[in-house]
């Protein structure tokens, strides 16, 4: 396994979702890695305390195959089961009921997607699924479009975090509409995470500088040439962006303003 840096923990600046408190503001996916060893090493290097996971049939032809839990300890890292691959509310509810039984807890990531090539959130189906899941006792972090009307409806339904896409899933294009993320942040009192679209460290920093609570990403790390290095980069980027947001950036101006005094010049 690759050597990894010790976990860098920034200022004491935790965040809370559904009554659970976390220090890392980076949530990472566990898909698309070359191996389970690499998955585990990337998570470690990212400093993430929450990882998203998918629910799938066990391969009964190979029951002894290594499982994710053998490499990523659910007692140490919080598993956030997703509904990837679900295209209806019924599928999403059924999948997460199984996840709740497998994992023993009810904090979940809901995503109901349209077809390729956009995989855009199907918001009508997402709302229906969120309603059914909340009725069934789930705490729902919801992947959604950056649409303030739907975001408000999801919040009113009782979702515990709003997670708009920054760009299409797996595109790595970075935040395509930061103005809308800003508007969503203005109107919500829930944790707001950019989920999908981050391609490199600066994209994650931009999301955090806007005031997002946290960032969720997968491909940006898994598809980097060196995923472990990129995981470290993402950890630093999220911390840097958060610190910059807390520090409060200087105002933008259209002209120059010298940094050195104009007085006391030699003549």
């Amino acid at each position: 396994m690759d050597a990894v840096e010790p976990r860098v923990v920034g200022d004491d600046d935790p965040w809370t979702v559904a009554g659970r408190t976390f220090r890392s503001r980076l949530i990472v996916g566990t898909g698309k890695y070359a191996s389970l060893e690499q998955t585990a090493a990337a998570i470690e290097a990212s400093g993430a305390e929450i990882v998203t996971v998918a629910v799938r049939r066990v391969n009964l032809a190979d029951p002894g195959a290594p499982m994710l839990q053998d490499f990523v300890d659910p007692k140490r890292i919080t598993y956030l089961p997703n509904t990837a691959g679900c295209h209806t509310a019924d599928d999403a509810v059924r999948t997460l009921r199984l996840a709740r039984e497998a994992g023993g807890w009810n904090l979940v990531k809901l995503e109901v997607l349209g077809p390729p090539p956009h995989l855009y959130p199907d918001m009508a189906a997402t709302l229906a699924a969120a309603e059914a899941l909340i009725r069934d006792g789930f705490e729902v972090m919801v992947y959604c479009s950056d649409d303030p009307i739907y975001a408000r409806r999801l919040e009113d339904l009782g979702c515990v975090a709003i997670m708009p896409l920054g760009a299409p899933i797996g595109s790595g294009l970075g935040l395509q509409n930061p103005a809308m993320i800003h508007l969503l942040l203005q109107q919500t009192s829930l944790p707001l995470l950019v989920d999908a679209g981050v391609g490199t460290a600066s994209d994650a920093a931009i999301a955090m500088e806007l005031g997002c609570t946290a960032v969720l990403l997968n491909s940006a790390i898994a598809h980097a040439t060196d995923p472990i290095l990129m995981a470290r980069a993402m950890q630093h980027a999220v911390q840097a962006g958060r610190l910059a947001w807390r520090a409060g950036r200087m105002p933008r101006r259209l002209g120059a303003d010298p940094s050195s005094p104009l007085t006391g010049l030699i003549r």
């Binding site: 998918a54 049939r57 199984l98």
Partner: protein, 70 residues
């Protein structure tokens, strides 16, 4: 007593000697109960009920686990 039963296991039909409890099936399949979840005829079977769940001919079982995902 040894009447075979046919189950649907993750979508594949499988004939097994009956009677059969779910806990016995999981053990025969070589699975770790702590790492899987089971749905029987679209209803979740709690882990605590594996021992008392008697499988019937025609039961459809989904046995799932966590894998990598975004």
């Amino acid at each position: 007593m040894a009447d075979p039963i046919t189950l649907s296991l993750n979508g594949e039909p499988r004939a097994l000697p009956g009677p059969l409890r779910l806990a016995e099936l999981i053990a025969q399949l070589g699975l770790d109960t702590r790492k899987v979840a089971v749905e029987r005829n679209r209803a979740i079977v709690p882990r605590s009920a594996y021992d008392t769940t008697r499988l019937a001919d025609g039961d459809a079982l989904e046995i799932v686990h966590f894998i990598g995902g975004g």
